[in-house]
């Protein structure tokens, strides 16, 4: 990357398969670049301190808090936001479908972060990553149950308290994804 001014950088961002070349103040977080510069307002700013998870996006397939990542440091990573989860024809991602079916929200502000985080959870479980629940019990590859989902999703707060249906939706999507893989 070349510096135009000391505190500014030309940054190439890959978001939902598209490339954006932006001149950004180095202080711009990925979240602000997505929302304010690119215009993808699905990712939400809740606490802006990495405590609530509303800003969760996938960076190279892994969930991350976009409020704590400077855009300049995310150069060339493949970023997926909630807008990039559905099929191009509008078919919802299994997690989006499950959140609708289970009414897994009230105000909806935390929902994009919940859904992106859950997408990360499904990938992590498929890769056999342990959690504080499974590590404590010495289990192998992760089989998601309610306790696992609650632990793995604990970085996403919902002030409406829709947790019961969020857990159900994530479990539905996990089951649907597993069927797809084994079918």
């Amino acid at each position: 990357m070349r510096s135009t001014e000391p505190a500014t950088s030309v940054v190439r961002l890959r978001v939902n398969g598209q490339t954006y070349v932006l001149t950004l103040d180095n202080r711009t977080t990925l979240l602000d670049a997505l929302r304010e510069t690119i215009g993808l307002t699905g990712s939400k700013k809740g606490c802006d301190h990495g405590q609530c998870g509303a800003c969760t996006v996938l960076v190279d397939g892994r969930r991350a808090n976009s409020c704590l990542l400077f855009a300049v440091a995310a150069q060339d990573a493949e970023i997926t936001t909630v807008e990039g989860l559905a099929e191009p024809d509008g078919t919802l991602h299994p997690l989006q479908r499950a959140f609708v079916d289970r009414d897994a929200l009230q105000c909806g502000y935390c929902t994009p972060g919940q859904i992106c985080s859950a997408a990360g959870v499904l990938a992590e479980a498929a890769a056999g990553w342990p959690s504080a629940v499974s590590a404590a019990h010495g289990a192998g590859p992760a089989v998601l149950d309610a306790a696992e989902v609650r632990e793995r999703m604990s970085g996403n707060l919902c002030r409406c308290g829709a947790y019961v249906n969020i857990v159900a939706a994530v479990l539905d999507a996990a089951a649907a994804t597993t069927e797809e893989v084994t079918a």
């Binding site: 180095n26 704590l68 609650r150 604990s154 970085g155």
Partner: protein, 329 residues
């Protein structure tokens, strides 16, 4: 937030040279703590040297066994590593007890070691704080100190170290590899961290420009029988009120080897050497465990609102060691 310049160095030597030579330059890892501190105004670096693209992201077999863990390895990758799960379960458990899935994906090993305290006064720039602004005083001593130190504090600072990972690494006797202006060296984790004394602004013994490149854990039989237990105010995604990293080897009902470190009770991850020494050769019973940790805690100097941590630590250590003794039999 203050404006800052941003660089991606070509190699570790370049990163070290830049930070050593530039006023207000700091390394940027996963940013989960540093970026937050910049938003809070606690940190205002003029230059970020991003070390996440340096080749420090591998977990390798170390010469002579053990594991050499690159400083850029993300916390989630380390927690899921099969060698860590099998040979150093305490380390995986400590990592998984910390932060959230998102943060563990971002946070690096080096950054985790160097995270700053979450003491409320340190994070609030409208308040005095000897760690943030030396000489301004410590309101925590008479203020909100429910979750601050009972061991190792000074009259100038009672902040705690808040890493879970570092507590496990301390129990394991980890060594830190550092690249400095004078070249590469290594130091024990014990020597990396320093007690506050009258310089609470200095968390570590690192010099400006020193870059942690890797952490190494030696082959350690006792570590196979190890566990991390964290007590906190909610079931997940919260800093510890107290935590314990323990490893225990029992033969014929007698303690053959033990490692014990405490978290969230001191300005550093606290290796409980006094308790370890008291236990070796003793019967592996609840009474021995209780008496050993209580000997360690005779050095505790709790304040008005954190005296509960003394019996809490005693109970948790006794429970974890008893659990490990039960498993070893």
């Amino acid at each position: 937030m203050q404006p800052f310049r941003y660089q991606q160095p070509a190699d570790a030597a370049g990163a070290v040279a830049t930070v050593a030579a530039t006023d207000g330059a700091v390394f940027l890892g996963g940013g989960t703590n540093l970026v937050d501190l910049m938003k809070l105004g606690v940190e205002a670096p003029g230059l970020l040297v991003d070390v996440t693209r340096l080749p420090m992201d591998r977990i390798e077999q170390a010469d002579g066994g053990g594991l050499r863990i690159g400083a850029g390895v993300r916390n989630s990758d380390l927690a899921a590593d099969s060698r860590v799960l099998a040979e150093y379960p305490v380390l995986s458990q400590a990592l998984l007890a910390g932060a959230s899935g998102q943060l563990r994906n971002m946070a690096t090993v080096g950054g985790n070691l160097l995270q700053r305290t979450r003491c409320l006064y340190f994070q609030d720039i409208t308040k005095p704080c000897n760690k943030r602004r030396p000489g301004t005083g410590c309101p925590a001593r008479s203020g909100d100190h429910r979750n601050l130190a009972i061991l190792g504090a000074s009259e100038h600072c009672i902040a705690t170290h808040t890493s879970d990972m570092a507590v496990a690494l301390t129990a394991l006797g980890a060594v830190v590899h550092v690249h400095g202006a004078e070249g590469a060296r290594s130091t024990s984790l014990d020597e990396l961290y320093r007690l506050p004394g009258d310089e609470p602004n200095r968390d570590t013994t690192l010099a400006r420009g020193d870059l942690i490149t890797a952490v190494e854990v030696a082959p350690l039989g006792v570590a196979r029988y190890s566990a991390y237990r964290k007590v906190r105010d909610r079931a997940s995604y919260a800093f510890a009120v107290a935590s314990v990293a323990a490893a225990l080897d029992v033969a014929d009902g007698t303690v053959r080897d033990v490692r014990l470190a405490l978290g969230a009770v001191a300005p550093v991850p606290w290796r409980a050497r006094r308790a370890e020494q008291a236990l070796v050769g003793q019967p592996a019973t609840e009474e021995s465990f209780r008496s050993a940790i209580d000997a360690e805690l005779t050095g505790a100097a709790p304040l008005r609102d954190n005296a509960f941590k003394v019996p809490l630590v005693s109970n948790v250590v006794t429970a974890v060691l008893s659990q490990l003794a039960g498993r070893a039999r």
